[in-house]
């Protein structure tokens, strides 16, 4: 049997293949040769064969028959064999094969080998693919190696320990004694991996976190040395001394300082120093600054430091490097909720990023812009956002349109502006608007009673231009159906009324029915609109004719509608005016944003609580409220999605069924530490008697950790001349409001 070909040969041969089929053939031939060589139990060439197998595995061909051979290589005495064997094990084996457990003994022996490189190989393999059983067996060996003085092994042992902890979290305590003097090492490799190990332990266990808080001074000292020390050639990357270690330490400081005043206090100085002294001309400097900013925002830093951090982010936004801009936008998005005013200062730069060429940057700038919209800047921002909607990629249009609708609804300065904005969105991005926004828009238009004439006129003009965008067409035909009489009478106050005859309107609507561009849903809308016009227009014959034609339409929905409308004309003509009357103002329900929204309406049942100091209410989960002596508070929790899904909006209604008014009514609420609360102003501070009215107040709760919402409420008011104070706890908000 000739010697198996070398790896290089194989590679060269495969590269000469001109088609995929040729390559497959060559590989199959070679696989057969390798298989027979394995069967012969040939020790000399096993290493070479497995190397070839790994190459073929990378190209995508099955190589599982080599798994056992890898084990044999690991058990060999030669370093070359072991190396390929371990590499093969890492690439071909994983926990799902039972074969991997056979490695455990080999690894154990190799962890105690005399050559450090063999020990290193064993640590590397265990750290990459060790299963939980293997980790349990070998954790002791790893722990021993963590205490060795050999820095090459110590750093590998540290990372291996991280893997062990990830697989078997219960073993974490075992590594605690070894961590005692990890940070006093001089070798940067060991320092780096030790910080990784400490980070992992702190992230997994709050006890460890409090235990390691005492390391903060030591970490600060190491960081200081790194910054202050002069040029050190072995650790230098583009002029900065070991930036990787600096970034790691900053991240660990972030975890240690979060929520703890003393630690945050200890780090303030060094963070300020890093933030001001780091060279920003190269990427490394910016990487360090970025990490510093994230740390400052997370710990309890003083406000001067926070402003410094946001200004650094603002500077990043102006940087030429697009990576830096991307990173800045991402961080600003995270901080915009907590430091809203500081981020507002950079609004113009952020809005400029909307015009960037890079898709990732545009997306982030768009999200951030929506987060920054408020009552003061709505007009200016909307102009920019509408311009962006015009020119952006189709992938963005749906999200942008939904975002604009939400922002307009929240902050619209006037009804006319609101309708104009909606019109603009419908005409520019009409086909990308989400289907569920059509009903919302219709509701909005119905409720703006004084704008009906203006709205219908503008929508009619838009229809004349373009009937391809279905959401626009649907809203327009609905409006024309409802307010067609205002259209033909030329009653518009807001702008120049146009002269339109009934026939022209019917022409447009009939055009929609026959057009190829209209979807079945749109056709349904226009048929109904034509029918409604029968009570508002005088050309009844034409309408009757259209309706009867569609009585034999192929589309079942249209046919059904037409037949029913026909019946309205014939047998039930006396009911027709009442049925086709103008729609009344619709009740406002929670708006549907781009992500799932859940609406819960709180309703109290009539359980009466008779003690004054009842601390909490236990009612069935779907009902939330507070009831006392005829005074009731109902809460409605809304889950508004865009731009921040962590905000729950709760509306409380207070009513009073006693015989005297409650005056000077003040509602206060407190939430647990992980939440943030914002109380908006109440509708009034008098709750009238006999349920004659109610006081409404909106509460916004930020719940970034998605914990169960709990609230303590305190009510103060004056009833029958004497001041009253009530305390209560509300615990049973429905899960949808905080998940």
């Amino acid at each position: 049997m000739p010697a198996p070909i070398r790896l290089r040969e194989l590679i060269r041969t495969i590269r000469t293949a001109r088609t995929q089929a040729e390559e497959r053939e060559m590989i199959q031939k070679e696989c057969a040769a390798i298989r027979s060589s394995f069967r012969e139990e040939d020790n000399t060439y096993r290493c070479r064969n497995v190397a070839k197998l790994l190459y073929m595995h990378m190209l995508g061909y099955p190589a599982h028959f080599g798994q056992l051979e890898c084990l044999k290589l690991i058990a060999s005495q030669k370093f070359t064999d072991k190396r390929i064997g371990y590499l093969g094990a890492m690439l071909l084996l994983d926990e799902r094969q039972d074969v991997h457990l056979l490695m455990t003994n080999c690894i154990k022996n190799d962890l105690n080998h005399s050559t450090q490189y063999v020990q290193g190989l064993a640590l590397c393999t265990l750290g990459c693919m060790g299963s939980s059983e293997m980790c349990r067996d070998l954790a002791g060996e790893v722990e021993k190696l963590l205490k060795t003085s050999n820095s090459y092994l110590r750093k590998k042992a540290a990372l291996c320990a991280v893997h062990v902890i990830r697989k078997v979290p219960e073993l974490m305590e075992m590594f605690l004694p070894a961590t005692k003097n990890l940070l006093s090492e001089k070798n940067h490799g060991v320092l780096h991996t030790s910080v990784v190990l400490l980070t992992e332990m702190c992230e997994r266990s709050p006890d460890m976190l409090s235990h390691f808080r005492k390391l903060v001074p030591q970490l600060v000292r190491i960081l200081k040395n790194l910054i202050m020390s002069g040029y050190s050639p072995e650790h230098d990357v583009s002029g900065i001394s070991d930036p990787f270690l600096q970034v790691r330490i900053l991240r660990l400081l972030r975890i240690l300082g979060k929520g703890d005043d003393d630690s945050s206090e200890a780090m303030n100085d060094i963070l300020a120093q890093v933030a001001t002294n780091t060279e920003t001309s190269k990427n490394v400097g910016n990487a360090i600054l970025y990490e510093t900013v994230l740390t400052i925002m997370d710990i309890k830093s003083e406000s001067g430091l926070r402003v410094l951090a946001i200004n650094i982010l603002g500077r990043f936004l102006l940087n030429n490097d697009k990576n830096i801009r991307y990173v800045a936008l991402t961080s600003l998005l995270k901080t915009v909720q907590t430091d809203h005013n500081a981020v507002q200062r950079h609004r113009s730069t952020i809005v400029d990023c909307l015009k960037d060429l890079d898709v990732s940057i545009k997306r982030r700038a768009m999200e951030l812009s929506f987060a920054l919209v408020n009552g003061n800047n709505i007009r200016g921002m909307m102009k920019e956002l509408l311009y962006f909607l015009d020119s952006c990629d189709p992938d963005f249009k749906a999200d942008c349109a939904s975002g604009i609708f939400l922002a307009a609804e929240k902050y619209a300065p006037s009804k006319r502006w609101h309708i104009d904005t909606i019109m603009r969105v419908l005409t520019t991005a009409g086909s990308y608007v989400r289907d569920d926004s059509v009903p919302n828009l219709i509701q909005l238009i119905t409720n703006s009673v004084e704008m009906h004439a203006y709205t219908v006129q503008r929508l009619y003009k838009a229809l004349l231009d373009d009937i391809s965008q279905q959401p626009l067409v649907q809203v327009a035909s609905w409006c024309i159906g409802e307010y067609g009489d205002l259209l033909v009478s030329g009653q518009c106050e807001e702008e120049e009324p146009i002269q339109v005859s009934e026939d022209e309107v019917l022409d447009v609507l009939e055009g929609l029915l026959v057009s190829n561009l209209s979807t079945p849903v749109t056709r349904g809308y226009s048929l109904t609109a034509i029918m409604k016009l029968s009570t508002r227009f005088s050309s009844l014959n034409r309408i009757k004719k259209v309706v009867s034609i569609y009585g034999s339409s192929i589309d079942v929905e249209l046919q059904q509608r037409a037949v029913e409308y026909n019946a309205l004309f014939k047998k039930y003509d006396h009911m027709r005016p009442a049925l086709l009357e103008r729609m009344p103002i619709m009740e406002k329900t929670a708006t549907n944003g781009p992500s799932e929204t859940v609406q819960t309406n709180g309703e109290t049942d009539s359980t009466i609580l008779d003690t004054k100091h009842l601390p909490s209410i236990s009612q069935p989960a779907s009902q939330v409220g507070f009831l006392k002596h005829g005074f009731s508070i109902q809460t409605c929790a809304h889950f508004r999605s865009n731009p921040n899904p962590n905000i729950a909006v709760i509306t409380i209604h207070a009513t009073n069924s006693t015989e005297a008014d409650m005056t000077e009514f003040v509602f206060q609420a407190a939430v647990p530490k992980t939440f943030q609360l914002q109380l908006l102003s109440p509708s009034s501070n008098v709750v009238p008697a006999f349920n004659q009215g109610s006081v409404t107040q909106v509460i916004r709760v930020l719940n970034p950790q998605k914990q169960q919402l709990r609230m303590r409420i305190k009510l103060t008011y004056t009833h029958k001349g004497s001041p009253v104070q009530d305390l209560a706890e509300v615990n049973n908000f429905p899960p949808q409001s905080w998940q």
Binding site: P2, A3, E9, I11, R15, T44, A51, L54, H57, M58, L59, G60, A63, F79, T80, R83, L87, L91, D94, E95, R96, T115, Y117, L123, C124, G127, C128, Y152, K155, K156, L159, C160, V162, H188, G189, H192, T193, V196, E234, H235, V237, D242, P243, F244, L245, V247, R251, N283, A287, Y290, E291, K322, N323, Y326, V327, L357, D358, V359, S360, I361
Partner: protein, 181 residues
Amino acid sequence: MIKAILIFNNHGKPRMSKFYEHYTEDTEQQIIRETFHLVSKRDENVCNFLEGGLLIGGSENKLIYRHYATLYFVFCVDSSESELGILDLIQVFVETLDKCFENVCELDLIFHLDKVHNILAEMVMGGMVLETNMSEIITQVEAQGKMEKSERLQDVFVEFSHQDLLDFYNQMEMIQTQLTR
């Protein structure tokens, strides 16, 4: 944590692939194809960060890549890694390869896949960054290479055959033609 490190060329052919999480062979190949598809669409002057494709974990994970001549170096990481730091790490990796191979080019990676894996093993272990000091990495890699060579020297006279000699001369010729091209 680094989920995967991929090197492929401008046509999508994988030159090295290392996964630090368990996927089946088919999934690994699909991931390579999907990543190539996402990365090759990118223009030259956009930023080097992308959301991961669906197979590798969707928007939880990011792809951080650099394009050098004919090769893409892609690191797929989760949110615990700093994006700018990984960019620097890719740079250090490529510079190390350059030092180890003397002006590295794609052919070096093709014919010395095992060496590339060995160098990477000194830098990243179990999805975490092990060592970033270039001289330290190179020292370790060279020491281990010496160990291998000393083991092989014992065998050289046994294996040396007529066929091997012929191969050796062919190789020399090929290198010469490449140099004089």
